[in-house]
Symmetry: D3
Subunit: 246 residues, 6 copies
Amino acid sequence: MLLHLCTWPEVESYLDRSTGIILPIGSTEQHGPTGLIGTDAICAEAIAKGVGEATGALVGPTINVGMALHHTAFPGSISLRPSTLIRVIKDYITFLSKSGFSTFFFINGHGGNIATLKAAFSETYAHLADLNLPNSDRVRCRVANWYQCESVYRLAKQLYGAREGSHATPSEVALTQYIYPDSIKTAPLDANVAKGHPIYGAADFRRHYPDGRMGSDPSLATPDHGRQLYELAVKDLSRSYLEFLN
Amino acid sequence: MLLHLCTWPEVESYLDRSTGIILPIGSTEQHGPTGLIGTDAICAEAIAKGVGEATGALVGPTINVGMALHHTAFPGSISLRPSTLIRVIKDYITFLSKSGFSTFFFINGHGGNIATLKAAFSETYAHLADLNLPNSDRVRCRVANWYQCESVYRLAKQLYGAREGSHATPSEVALTQYIYPDSIKTAPLDANVAKGHPIYGAADFRRHYPDGRMGSDPSLATPDHGRQLYELAVKDLSRSYLEFLN
Amino acid sequence: MLLHLCTWPEVESYLDRSTGIILPIGSTEQHGPTGLIGTDAICAEAIAKGVGEATGALVGPTINVGMALHHTAFPGSISLRPSTLIRVIKDYITFLSKSGFSTFFFINGHGGNIATLKAAFSETYAHLADLNLPNSDRVRCRVANWYQCESVYRLAKQLYGAREGSHATPSEVALTQYIYPDSIKTAPLDANVAKGHPIYGAADFRRHYPDGRMGSDPSLATPDHGRQLYELAVKDLSRSYLEFLN
Amino acid sequence: MLLHLCTWPEVESYLDRSTGIILPIGSTEQHGPTGLIGTDAICAEAIAKGVGEATGALVGPTINVGMALHHTAFPGSISLRPSTLIRVIKDYITFLSKSGFSTFFFINGHGGNIATLKAAFSETYAHLADLNLPNSDRVRCRVANWYQCESVYRLAKQLYGAREGSHATPSEVALTQYIYPDSIKTAPLDANVAKGHPIYGAADFRRHYPDGRMGSDPSLATPDHGRQLYELAVKDLSRSYLEFLN
Amino acid sequence: MLLHLCTWPEVESYLDRSTGIILPIGSTEQHGPTGLIGTDAICAEAIAKGVGEATGALVGPTINVGMALHHTAFPGSISLRPSTLIRVIKDYITFLSKSGFSTFFFINGHGGNIATLKAAFSETYAHLADLNLPNSDRVRCRVANWYQCESVYRLAKQLYGAREGSHATPSEVALTQYIYPDSIKTAPLDANVAKGHPIYGAADFRRHYPDGRMGSDPSLATPDHGRQLYELAVKDLSRSYLEFLN
Amino acid sequence: MLLHLCTWPEVESYLDRSTGIILPIGSTEQHGPTGLIGTDAICAEAIAKGVGEATGALVGPTINVGMALHHTAFPGSISLRPSTLIRVIKDYITFLSKSGFSTFFFINGHGGNIATLKAAFSETYAHLADLNLPNSDRVRCRVANWYQCESVYRLAKQLYGAREGSHATPSEVALTQYIYPDSIKTAPLDANVAKGHPIYGAADFRRHYPDGRMGSDPSLATPDHGRQLYELAVKDLSRSYLEFLN
């Protein structure tokens, strides 16, 4: 059940039976020579829709642009500053809380969002307390990273081993191939991919990761891997969502 | 050409031939008893993709949540405060400008976004001047409202006359019906629809527009109207984009 | 009745009979080779005082500096950033609302202020809702641009035709000549005045409008034109204010 | 020489001979049962104009609304929050610095502005350093309080002794009587005026100062006192400005 | 070498041989019935000084108040909002970067700080890039949590097992006992301590953790445990700091 | 009684008998060739502890970094921008007010903090009013500068006369010598010390005060002077605190 395809009376009815909502959040950032710039948003959105179908949960609109400052030395990357993203999340949760929602489950496709999301949740709880909304002290938020679901992690390990890497990974690329089979990209990939350098600013990132990959070999990805990963993620996160809701 | 389905080297190539980008912006807000909450985002996104195909322009990710504070007394509406949206737009344009983009064409589906977008453009031009980016003083932004294209406006008038109204209009509902034919909603609509009251705060809005419509009769909408409106909007805005680019 | 020339008990009495206040807002920006930098503030203030006299409304202090970022490449221009002006407006309305005012009528002399004012109104309605003031959901704001009054527009057209232009116009210059007859400036004006270029950043503006005028011929202005325009604007806006109040 | 009555080429010429500008700043706040709400702005503006005439300095537009939060429990008072006023001052100075001004002399009529102005100056110097403007490290700001000029202070003491008080003082009231002789107000004044309580929040202020005066007897004021005080202030501040400039 | 006990010429000399600085960050928050409110700041500061001595690194002043919003329903807790702490960290790093520092090692005593610190680092890298400082793209920040050092974690496990818990832990209490042996507090502790509930807002936290402990038994702490933990943490973090520096 | 060495139940008990708290605030900034960078924080903290002991007041954690932007051209100085410090102070007071504190006595060691602190108090009173806390309109804040205590001022005058100067003064240096006798620094001091130049931005400050001193001769300081100054300050401020509390 997608919020964008509901009418407001349908949402009103939904709120009679549930206060939960799923919010997909991704990023718009380089994913190496062959990964799609929308990878993190595409994965989060697809899985969130799957979880929504499996659990009957309402799924809000995808936050397409997240905290990707360290990728902004590559053309096409867009980022919100953390202070901006905090305000965005605060606005989302505040106005949905005014509607009656109190259980916010963010399905996240990008590691760079996690810290800012957690900071935003804290900021928002305090803001809601300031506003004295009736449900202020019942609001609960959680970030769930699809790529860290245990079953997903295990399959990625099994399929790709160390060549999974940590950015522009074959598992996320596989997932986008499954979702957008017409947008599979190929390019010569240097076997000697950079890895292990911590993440600082954008210029530093590009200096150390010149083609954008972090230790990964996305050429291993296949659409069928993507399908398997998708199904595991939906199953795991559906369970997590229902546990969180209750 | 969708940014989300490109790799960064593809964006790099694109920038060799163009500095333009289309950014769809909508809203997540009640659209009366039968209109979809995502109407404005759905319409802006579909038309932007059409314009991208027609002109070869790159189309960025859709800004799904805009400035809809006055709709937030209806459940399911989400809004950014203007001060938040200004920061979002500033971040988008700043980081895309660092990539080399300088021509930003926002295809907009929601009247409530216009003032804040214009304020954001001014804020951003001054911010870019502060940063001394090489292309700072070449950056140009425009907001193009699909529903105000002359041909669209004329057809809506002809199809619906005064029953077009100004929110939850049959023309935008028709467009969503064309795009999502499986999500056509019906509900009894009071013929005596409210109209003419100016827009102030959220509580005032709901008091004056109890079912969310502003003078409109969305029951007149058909998917085929939607198709016609879509085609007119794509044609008009493609011309506008190309003129703006050159 | 000017707020600045009242005592607080006089304001208290006023609030017993009216919750309306007029707030003049102008700008401090170049107005071509012969226009006064204070033109927009001068015009808004004079007309607001006239409307106050005609209607018995309280008139607040003039906001002298508005959103004029695009004029700041000319010496003497001052601007607030939109994000600053939004905070200013929010503070004005919030504290006046705490006093008991709820009807805010901004008489505006500068097109560049409109978008930011509208964004500020939205921001403020939501802020007042957060504060739970007793009159929060009764607060209403409107911006009224004197130069867009129908009668004013018609006279300007009749007097100057296309030479009215859109910045440093003979009509606004005429109005300042009527108000400050000792400050009438002359200078050679290039007949080939620039026009038609959209407004982006400050450097771009000056590049395209080298003497600051936008398609106008302010040499046509006379103090007597100014008087006529003043009287029309006061009459029109007095009617608008009273309609808005009730 | 008033900025508002200049054209931009006149400002350009002025900048060839001076980088100094005077900025009057007042407040819009209750001044007891008989003092005008605009007192602080009226006094600052009049004296600034006098200093401008005496020294040939350019005088900018008056900042009518300052930091008067503690007065906002009285109707008609308007205040900017300190964080807002800091942004306003930062914007003024930044854009005037881009024009070439570097010497900012604020003539102030309200004690409550001083702390925030000083904080704003510090904030602005650091901001200008961030921007790398050519004159960034030459910008100097000063706040000059007319009522603290030695000669003014001495005359007030001599005329009113302890009945000068510290808010809604006879000296500031006298000055407004001199400037606006048609707006002299009278009201019965409790001889037992409150005094000596420090300033905290707005509710606390009104609780301790129920009619708004702080230890003052404004009934002692006369327009002729106002004239004397005006002349002393103009003389003193003209000297201060010239010293500051050089 | 403590920054607070240095002169500026000593810092200048230090910068000739190192660009690294250690910044202790703690929190001011309840730590159960017997834990000190300053626990996190006390531990971070003591260990940072130890690391400074062991490595010759400069140690900056302790950030005593961090992100502890969820503890603010207990008296004596103080917190910065995440958006405030981000600004604080940005200011620290920016001005130290202007001095020539580029390697920032935060020794942290509070889990609640981590997300906000990481968000702040991202915000700051982008801010420094905006400023075009000479060392902008060389600035690197890291947060090191003393309680997560492998050796510390192992000893805590060995000493306390599951009774270590996750807040007001015996290990952090032991460390404060070692540092402040005169401030050892005792109180009856309910053996049935709450645990396992995720952290949301302040009211929710206190509802679920009524005495402030999260699954811990701080009565197990001894000053000698504290000494051992201190020595392990200093040794581990000294190695980490030197690795980070090079 | 130090907040950092209390448990939360101890704070709860304290609040039964007092709503007052002392907050030391200093700075981290150059203090000339021989003064410690932490001078202002060290002095404020030591005196605050002394006052706490003398009066039984609770003493909060020291704010080590204040508003020292004008010192940031000397290595080792750290500063918050005024807008940051305002948020910090607002957060401290807001969360302590929620605990039940209402009387905030800041013992300050740095002149540069005063304006921003006062602005922050105003900002906070208005913020508390927005929140409708039960004690909102009872919150009172004061800044007490130890170096301006009458007895301290008199002794400094007597010991050092004009060589006290106004920054890196022998009196503050003496106080740090008394507190940290092992950190007494010496260096050749130019007898011809700069003085009398007003404070503007950081580059300007260093240009005019090349070694960081403002008219002072810190070589006159002795630890015993420090002891005397300490005792006077504690005595004076203890009296001030108790007066303020009642």
